[in-house]
Symmetry: C2
Subunit: 425 residues, 2 copies
Amino acid sequence: MELGIGLFGLGTVGTGVVKILQQNAPQITERTGANLVVRHAVVHNLNKKRTGFVQDFPITDQPADILNNPDIQIVVEVMGGVSGAYDIIKQAITAKKHVVTANKDLIASHGQELANLANENGVDLYYEAAVAGGIPILRTLATSFTADEITRVAGIINGTSNFILTQMASNGLTYENALALAQEKGFAEADPTNDVAGFDAAYKLIILSNFAFGVQPVLGDVSISGITNLTDLDIEDAQSFGYGIKLLGVAQRVGDSNNAISIEVAPHLVPFDHPLATVHNENNAVLVNGESVGEVMLYGPGAGEMPTANSVLSDLTNVATNYTPGKPFNTFNQNLDLAKPSQRVARRFVVVDVADTPGAMYSVTGMFTSAKISFTDLKQTPAKNGYARLVALTYPASDAQLNVIKTTIRNADGINLVSEYKIFS
Amino acid sequence: MELGIGLFGLGTVGTGVVKILQQNAPQITERTGANLVVRHAVVHNLNKKRTGFVQDFPITDQPADILNNPDIQIVVEVMGGVSGAYDIIKQAITAKKHVVTANKDLIASHGQELANLANENGVDLYYEAAVAGGIPILRTLATSFTADEITRVAGIINGTSNFILTQMASNGLTYENALALAQEKGFAEADPTNDVAGFDAAYKLIILSNFAFGVQPVLGDVSISGITNLTDLDIEDAQSFGYGIKLLGVAQRVGDSNNAISIEVAPHLVPFDHPLATVHNENNAVLVNGESVGEVMLYGPGAGEMPTANSVLSDLTNVATNYTPGKPFNTFNQNLDLAKPSQRVARRFVVVDVADTPGAMYSVTGMFTSAKISFTDLKQTPAKNGYARLVALTYPASDAQLNVIKTTIRNADGINLVSEYKIFS
């Protein structure tokens, strides 16, 4: 059997896909029973010099060259962007072509609609590369944890912010210097907002939530905070209590009957001896907790030409061996309520600046007592500019309780909230 | 569609399988399109009290009750042992029943023969639970790294020995006390040989090698050494250089053209900041290096009722959704030579006791120089009973070179080889 591939996009990932297809062709054919052959690529810029592979297929800038080609059975979309890719994938599916994409923004926002369309047209729509680069987390959730009740999926799923946090923690860089280094190394874009503000992680967490819990959240369902306000002082203080700080995407069942779901991207304190704490620099990891399986973690490269291309290839080989075309990548659907603030409960790391005046600390502890938040650990460092820095670790408290204390602090004189992060356990 | 299941064995894992099937029945049916129903269990001891599930199926001690039952389409073998299980699985396959087993010894020794038989009979033979308990490593190798060239699979795949090593390293226990604690907690058997001498890990490594490299090694192809000779002093010395000691199963391509394979179970030094170093107690982890994917690690529980049962369930749900019955779990076959000692190259941790006499150290360093082994680090501790302990870390050296130095030392007076382990990187 020969399967023709049409590539939309021939940048980093697209080039990696062609390289693997060419270099490992005999092995792929032996293991799948199919010859996977690139028949055409469509790109934006025809003048760009392309190297690293044998160009034995035409390259044009006309989508119709792929969409109308009857010898192309699989469309690989690795050009990025949402609206253009959406149109092309829709047309490809309607033309009864299987689609493999690495486009997380598109899948997070239109995944269900496109999956339904693919199902109607009897073609596959796979997107392993959309989440956590080379880590095969989506296929694992779909095929290995099918029978389990997943209670939490938590991950370091943005390599840029993890690189920045690692450099701050290990090499003592400030946020600004760590960001500059990430940009220099090509891990962060000139405008890093999408990564450092948590949006990239939120898109990936939406897709993970769909596979782990069968829910279909939209961006507005995700509580998002990034790492832009994190200081080296926060990291030092966390370290002094035995914790690192990581930007985590956390989707978990909460509530008394476990039928609400909390979906959150935020910096978290992670104990040094937790497997997630050892995930450094641009690497990613996804932790899965299931009623049966317990705790499992998948660790690996979160981006990069060849790891991401390998995830595209895993989709291609699964298209080639799938005898039930149209069966959705994820077949799990269930209804869960969105968690209320009172249902998001965790221990906290809270930092406040307190005016260095008699009775100030008494008044602060009184505020926490009113909000029914108790401390497990406290550290006060000497006053600077008339303010003392108070770092507190708390017993479990809900977002609702934290909202109370935040309001109280905002309305009080002589006390400012500096930082507040959940402690992951 | 309804699929009837016949269970051979209703011990820890078998009970876990029934629990999951009963508790998560609606979800399993929704996601697979099939009702998976236990129709019969065959056990050795009919008098044993069994709890934790609703017994809505007959339990007998006659294999024929399952093998001749036309309403049973899938046989789950979780009774253990090789010869009895071999006969039953062969009969089940010949009776055109799909087989799911957790039996690593059986698969490591008869896997290929049984896979061929299953293929001829058009039924599935899956065994995810045979390697690394709850970690879905086999299916990941089969379906996500199909197109990649794997260069190494390395893992902590024996929970018992990892528990012992963790207790020695973290709590300062001697080997004997750590083993006693493992036995007390049920992690080690009364006769722990199979685990601590490395045989259990070797069986799992044979199966991993089959999936990662397409080879079919036998036990004699695996170089095996266990943890029985490891001392707390070795662990302390390794720690002083920044390493932990882990029992690793390592299968890797070696040689100039990368077409030989080295398959080895042995204690290795692992740098503290390596992901494998953070795998503690009874947990397992498998590290995969691929030309494309780079380095990926799967971490999780290596044993236990529910994690292992979840792996059996992943096989069952894959049987239920597989429309190409008989397609082998692993479709990868290739020929690689077994590595020669000269092709097994690694940095080393070498400990020798040297007589505390003038010129002794000069003579020792002369021996290493003759074997062309150079040191990166040296540590000599004061003599006790007339012998000094010399700990050396070396530059990369082959097993052939180490064999030379071992012979030299054996034939020399005033020097004894205490320990020799590879350093993993």
